[in-house]
């Protein structure tokens, strides 16, 4: 018999060599030292590669994905063209529903409200009333979400939500009507000569959340971080959230059939602009926001030292925090209306056009502008707002 091929050696290693071939191969190997050496080499290389892939998959305290949650997310995305086609968008929208990225308590409520770029929420300290004046981006580790810590924090707050006002959105015929309905004159980008394809007044919402006493007390155990104890006064604390009406303007050819995604040149005309007067978040004045924020930052993947030094640069009572999954988006700090703004750029996915979002707070309003293509165009559009 001639020497054994690599393919046969590999099949032998995998136990996939046919009964008919095996004896002849073994016989040859018993007499051919060179082939035996190749077989050993093949086996150790195959094992090494298998070990590498297995360690890729290794996640500590692995419980596997939550299939029910995954199915719900999948169904959600099927309904939504944008997120169905643009994973970055879905990462921001679907994943960031969990209100936890940034911090717990009132700050978490803020995160919950701003969880997706149509940004909503906010903070100014005035006997425990917060209103956003600026915006900051916080990078977030994936395993924070993957290990279900986000869900724990979500449960902490959302298990007891009472909605007191939940208005439906209404389409406006023109800017004047939108201004009348919303109660403020919306700004629109002068750079666009086309009229908005959709001009919609988003409804006002009011609700309050109560931090679950038991969950607050067992929080450290739940997240597996005995060092992260929540302040006891958070237990049973009430957080009131009041979001006024906002105005959304959608321009251009936003895709409404998936096939349109392929035509990236058309997508660059798509623009989605949302403006909402800063919501108010009211909670107990004795809650130490900075402390809560630091706990939140540690949970998103920072070390204690990082959380402290980062936390000190931010006034949590007036800052809108946007948490971003590290691998799904990059962000830059830019200036819009003389204010600090966050430009989020989605990671390139396949050959789909890049998605971007620009978020800032100015004149007591939170602005969110998003579109496709060159992220720099966001600044031009924002610069042309009248």
């Amino acid at each position: 018999m001639s020497h054994v091929s690599d393919g046969v050696l590999r099949a032998r290693f995998d136990g996939e060599l046919g009964e008919a071939d095996l004896p002849a191969v073994e016989r040859h190997l018993s007499t051919c030292a060179a082939c035996r050496a190749r077989a050993d080499r093949m086996a150790s290389s195959a094992e090494a590669i298998h070990a590498l892939f297995s360690r890729q998959a290794a996640v500590p305290d692995e419980t596997g994905p939550d299939v029910a949650e995954a199915f719900a997310r999948f169904q959600n995305r099927r309904k939504d063209v944008f997120s169905e086609r643009v994973p970055f968008w879905s990462a921001l929208a679907a994943r960031m529903r969990v209100p936890a990225w940034v911090a717990i308590g009132a700050v978490a409520v803020v995160a919950l409200l701003v969880a997706s770029p149509p940004t909503r929420a906010v903070a100014r300290k005035l006997l425990g009333v917060f209103r956003a004046k600026t915006v900051v981006a916080v990078p977030m580790d994936h395993d924070f979400v993957a290990n279900g810590k986000g869900q724990i924090i979500s449960d902490l707050l959302s298990s007891s939500t009472t909605v007191t006002l939940d208005e439906q959105p209404r389409d406006a015929a023109n800017v004047e009507e939108a201004a009348l309905l919303a109660g403020f004159a919306p700004r629109l980008p002068a750079i666009r000569s086309d009229p908005p394809r959709i001009l919609r007044v988003e409804g006002a919402h009011k609700f309050y959340l109560t931090a679950d006493r038991k969950r607050v007390e067992s929080f450290a155990e739940l997240v597996g971080r005995p060092d992260l104890r929540l302040p006891p006064e958070l237990a049973g604390a009430k957080v009131m959230v009041d979001i006024p009406r906002g105005v959304r303007a959608v321009y251009g050819e936003c895709p409404d059939v998936p096939a349109a995604m392929a035509q990236s040149s058309r997508l660059t005309s798509c623009l989605d602009f949302l403006q909402v007067p800063s919501a108010t978040v009211t909670t107990l004045p004795e809650l130490d926001l900075a402390q809560l924020a630091e706990i939140g930052l540690e949970l998103t993947g920072m070390t204690q030292a990082q959380a402290q030094s980062f936390g000190r640069t931010v006034d949590w009572t007036s800052t809108l925090a946007i948490a971003l999954p590290r691998e799904s988006a990059r962000f830059d700090e830019v200036t819009v209306d003389g204010q600090r703004a966050v430009l989020i750029v989605g990671r390139q996915y396949l050959d789909w056009p890049t998605r971007w979002a620009l978020i800032w707070v100015g004149q007591e309003r939170v602005y969110s502008l998003s579109g496709f293509g060159d992220p720099q165009s966001a600044l031009q559009v924002a610069g042309s707002l009248r």
Binding site: V8, E16, A70, R95, R120, E202, F331
Partner: protein, 192 residues
């Protein structure tokens, strides 16, 4: 209740595509999802080294399946279709991520490199090297290696990848050699 209103989900589109599929399709889709999703995520974790991304790509895979609008009974081998599609999307994802890597490095800022536990640093480096190596292989080679490591038998590999069962050994041997070479390159040629 869902507290996030005005989310991206309501991107204010006038005409959304209606999911006009019949009930049986929806029911079979749900049962296929429950059956295969965890496995698909596992395979993708092997490839991507990241469970968040693995779930993202797994979801994309099922979106693709749903978009086919084909009764699931029409698939000769649904598992094979899902494995093939998922690993192909996964490898496209890895390649795109590799192209963009320098962006991400600047984007993530200092926070992530500073004070990271050693174990994590080593894992990150290893994950990066595996991904860089996979990106250098042909998509098919990456697929066959990862699926084999996931535990597919030769017959299953042949079904999933549309190849002959008798050539699986030879294709694996070739992919393995290519991976070894690419991995060594990725490890030594690492910029960091």
């Amino acid at each position: 209740m869902d507290l996030v209103f005005g989310s991206a989900g309501e991107m204010a589109l006038a005409q959304r595509p209606t999911v006009a599929a019949g009930e049986p399709f929806e029911a079979s889709l749900e049962s296929a999802f429950s059956e295969y999703y965890p496995r698909i995520v596992k395979v993708l974790e092997r490839m991507l080294g990241d469970s968040f991304e693995a779930e993202e790509v797994a979801t994309e895979t099922f979106l693709k399946l749903a978009a086919q609008r084909l009764p699931l009974s029409e698939y000769k081998n649904l598992g094979g279709w899902l494995y093939r599609t998922a690993t192909r999307l996964g490898i496209d994802f890895v390649r795109a991520a590799e192209r963009r890597r320098h962006y991400e490095r600047t984007a993530a800022g200092e926070l992530q490199t500073f004070d990271t536990p050693l174990e994590q640093v080593l894992r990150n480096d290893r994950v990066r090297a595996v991904r860089a190596a996979l990106a250098r292989l042909s998509p098919f080679q990456s697929q066959i290696l990862v699926l084999r490591s996931h535990g597919l038998a030769y017959k299953e590999l042949a079904d999933a990848l549309n190849i002959k069962a008798t050539s699986v050994g030879a294709l694996l041997a070739r992919a393995q050699a290519a991976f070894e070479k690419a991995y060594r390159l990725a490890e030594t040629g690492r910029e960091k």
